[in-house]
């Protein structure tokens, strides 16, 4: 079962290394990991999707994560009803005069954006849940996907939850 963790941590050299090392040595499976600045200078925010065998393992993941000195807070996003999940993907798809308009129609339906057009390709940006990104990727696949870059999940709780 996939679990989403939101972690706040001090922005210091080697912190990512500590997280990666911890997950590797404890045999926890990282599905995706996304890290960047938070609202507070000096504090990074990480969203992790972890594939856990059971509840007990999930509990272990959170506790072991907490043991890292630089980790300030870990939130289990799945444990609240209303977390927002988003992922961004850049998709470079083969496109020519014949297929370009078909692709643009799909882009519109998915409220995605065309970032770049060349005689033989188009680059599309899509934001949404993983399911939405997956769906667009599958629809574009028949045209020929040349490159795909996905950010992995970022998460935030709705309302005042933190």
């Amino acid at each position: 079962m996939k679990k989403t963790l939101i972690a706040l941590m001090e922005d210091k050299p080697g912190v990512l290394d500590r997280v990666a090392s911890l997950f590797r040595r404890r045999n926890f499976n990282i599905e995706s990991l996304s890290v960047g600045h938070s609202e507070t200078p000096g504090i990074s925010r990480m969203t992790l999707v972890v594939d856990c065998q059971d509840e007990a393992q999930e509990e272990q993941v959170v506790k072991q994560f907490h043991k890292l000195i630089e980790v300030l807070k870990v939130t289990e996003a799945d444990k609240v009803d209303s977390a927002l999940y988003r992922e961004l993907a850049l998709i470079k798809v083969a496109a020519n005069l014949d297929t370009r308009s078909h692709i643009i129609q799909l882009v519109d339906v998915f409220r995605a954006q065309v970032l770049d057009v060349s005689p033989t390709s188009m680059t599309i940006e899509v934001t949404g849940t993983e399911d939405k990104v997956d769906a667009l990727v599958e629809l574009l696949r028949p045209f020929g996907i040349k490159e795909l870059a996905r950010t992995g999940r970022v998460a935030m709780l709705r309302g005042n939850g933190k």
Partner: protein
Amino acid sequence: MKLNGAQIVCESLVREGVQVVFGYPGGTVINLYDALPQYNLRHVLTRHEQGAAHAADGYARATGQVGVCIATSGPGATNLVTGIATAHMDSSPIIAITGQVGTAFIGKDAFQEVDVTGITLPITKHNYLVTNINDLPRVMKEAFYIARTGRPGPVLIDIAKDVQQAEIEFEYPEKVDLPGYRPTIRGHERQIRQAAQMINRAERPLILCGHGVILSGAQVELRELAEKAHIPVITTLEGIGGFPRTHPLCLGMSGMHGEAYANYAVQSADLLIAIGMRFSDRVTGKVRSFARAAKIIHIDVDPAEIGKNVPVDLPVVGDVRHVLQSLNPQVEPAEHGDWLAQIETWRVESARRDILNRETDALIAPYVIRQIWHATQGQALMVSDVGQNQMWEAQYYLHDKYRGLITSGGLGTMGFALPAAIGAQVGRPDEEVWVTVGDGGIQMNIQELATVVQEKLPLKIAILNNGYLGMVRQWQQLFFGKRYSGTPISGPDYVKLAEAYGLTGLRVTNKADVVPALQRARQINGPVLIEFQVVGEENVYPMVPAGGSISEMLRRPLEEEEMV
């Protein structure tokens, strides 16, 4: 006060109460070594950096203070690794200070450069690479705080050479600011109340005393709990010394080589009160069949230990001593006569299989250990190595003394005993310190005999020489058709070797000579090495085969069974 980085390290050590450091100099710590003599710090030169790390660990375990070791960059730092990992597994507070190449050379594969913070990431509680002199005082302060608080553990500080040379106006922080590190010390009141209720209701309660009891200094509180509620106590290997072994409620050690009656007690208890221990596989055997009849209360300072290996009915996260101080008044006095009588029948049955109750003139290691116990009246500080010698020490030296045994439990590091004993003797100079070690383990760090002599440490070193790597040989005998692959081992003439290093060397080949040799060794006012040539193919019993249930032990055959 303007100080350079090397002086800041020394000044910080002094302010943290450090009196002794164990180390080995080299290119990137030469500044540190230049500063050392300016401070009131005793330096113990080991003969290998591994010895320095174990000595710092032994010092920490003997005194409860933070042990400190120093090594240079590259090979010096990598040589510390086994010692750091040993301390990490047994939650021993040490600070390892390593030199690093100059900041400008980091990442350039410079001479004696190694990424020691990367290497030690998984085996330290925390570590630091210091490349800016302004960070150094804070890092020193934080490192000691992290090492000694919460669940103790090793912290490594890697300091670039130019940082040791740079100068700043020194100001030592009074407090640490670590928002992500706040160990829970006091247990949750409701959980403690529930624990008391469970204890008050239990009919067959049993305490499992782990290293945490010793680390938190809770031996008095534990004894109070056990006596008040009449609860028998089992110790883990690292928990030995947390509860007096000769106390009528003490059942000794359980687990893979635990007493059979202790394992039966675990399997029959209706309540296990696990205190400062982590349910190692050596304690539980097969988890699914461990303590099936029992509810489990788990008291530990590290929340990540709760439910890690064994599902727990009631967790109490907090420092063991604080938790017991809150718990004890809520526990009602009780009598568990039937339960203790049941255990007593198992104990009597077990005694029939005790090797010391067998009529034999052969010189066996358990006999030697028991005679050391008699000779020292149970008051020695024992440092054991790893393997058969370690298990026999745990079984046959009856430890009543708090912090009376130092041994590598979690990592099981052969070669630990001699250097750890150096640290222990330095930390407790007025006490009688004994090393019990096999002929394999002694040869792993035998170079430290020179340290013993240079530092004039009156260690008594008992080598139990059976000519084998005994524990592996035992497994080979029992599970691999007696194919002794790689386990027969020779060694030097230990008496000559002792003399060559400057120790008194004694050799014992007969059972009758054991007691006189021990008496002589104790009369000699200096280090003594005694080689006991013991029976080669003797086994440690009982034994739970790896992965097996602790109710299914291999037992020492009875005399009549052996006749068959």
